[in-house]
Amino acid sequence: MAISLDKALGIHQHALEGRVKRAEVLANNLANADTPGYKARDIDFQAMMEKAQEGMSGFGMTRTHESHMDTSPMGQDSELMYRVPNQPSVDGNTVDTQQEQTRFMRNAMDYQASFQFLNGKVTGIKKALSGQ
């Protein structure tokens, strides 16, 4: 049986990648907190994970033409959505700074959790390889 490092690491590498992606989107929301007309965005993390799981189960599709829609686990920006504002602002900006900051912090904690899992996997593989 061939050893596949990709499979050994499981879903955690995709989760970590998703957390990084989400951190970027949230950081962008916060940077644009004072930009008139800016619409806050976020990533549908669950949809992203479902896609990653589909890709891992072996039923993922391959792109035969570059203008076909991307169905890879970490696809294009199809998971990127606009947030529904709960308070209208005069200049059309929908960034709620407090909420975005909370989400960013929460995302950073989730990132840490994903990292712990991934680190556990890596140390497990290392132990197996060294025969301890």
């Binding site: 970027e24 940077a31 965005r41 199809s78 990127l80």
Partner: protein, 149 residues
């Protein structure tokens, strides 16, 4: 798309906010600069912010059928600085050296209270971007320790 781009995003936010702080400082410093004509009088300056789209940074991606406009943003930029067209303050001060023939002096349309509020808002936003950068830094440092005991 990586942690590294968070530094660019937060950095662009810090640049924009410090420019906003600069214009506020200029406005408050000139709040009492009197002159004898409407043309020469200082007018309050305000920066105009606009979001940077990712497609602007990577022109090669622009031709893509999907997601060229819909991509995640890449921070904020200052599109320009505009002068406020609010009415100037006209005061009757015949003794003032800059008074015109009718004895009027023009003062800038700077609202000091508004500027102070703007100053607090921009310094808070700056601080927030610094916090984001710090978080991204610790996230990045953590990934470097992957696989270590």
């Amino acid at each position: 798309m990586s942690l590294g781009s968070i530094f660019d995003i937060a950095g662009s936010g810090m640049t924009a906010q410090s420019l906003r702080l600069n214009t506020t400082a200029s406005n408050i410093a000139n709040a009492e600069t009197a002159s004898s004509s409407t043309e020469q009088t200082y007018r309050a300056r305000k920066p105009v912010f606009a979001a940077i789209q990712q497609s602007m940074l990577n022109p090669s991606q622009q031709g893509q059928a999907f997601g060229s406009e819909e991509g995640p943003g890449a921070g904020v930029r200052v599109e320009g600085i505009v002068e406020s067209d609010a009415e100037l303050q006209m005061r009757f001060q015949p003794d003032h050296p800059a008074a015109n023939e009718e004895g009027y002096v023009f003062y800038p349309n700077v609202n000091v209270v508004e500027e102070m509020a703007d100053m607090m808002s921009s310094s808070r936003s700056f601080q927030m971007n610094v916090d984001i950068m710090n978080s991204a830094k610790s996230m990045m440092q953590r990934i470097l320790t992957l696989g270590q005991q």
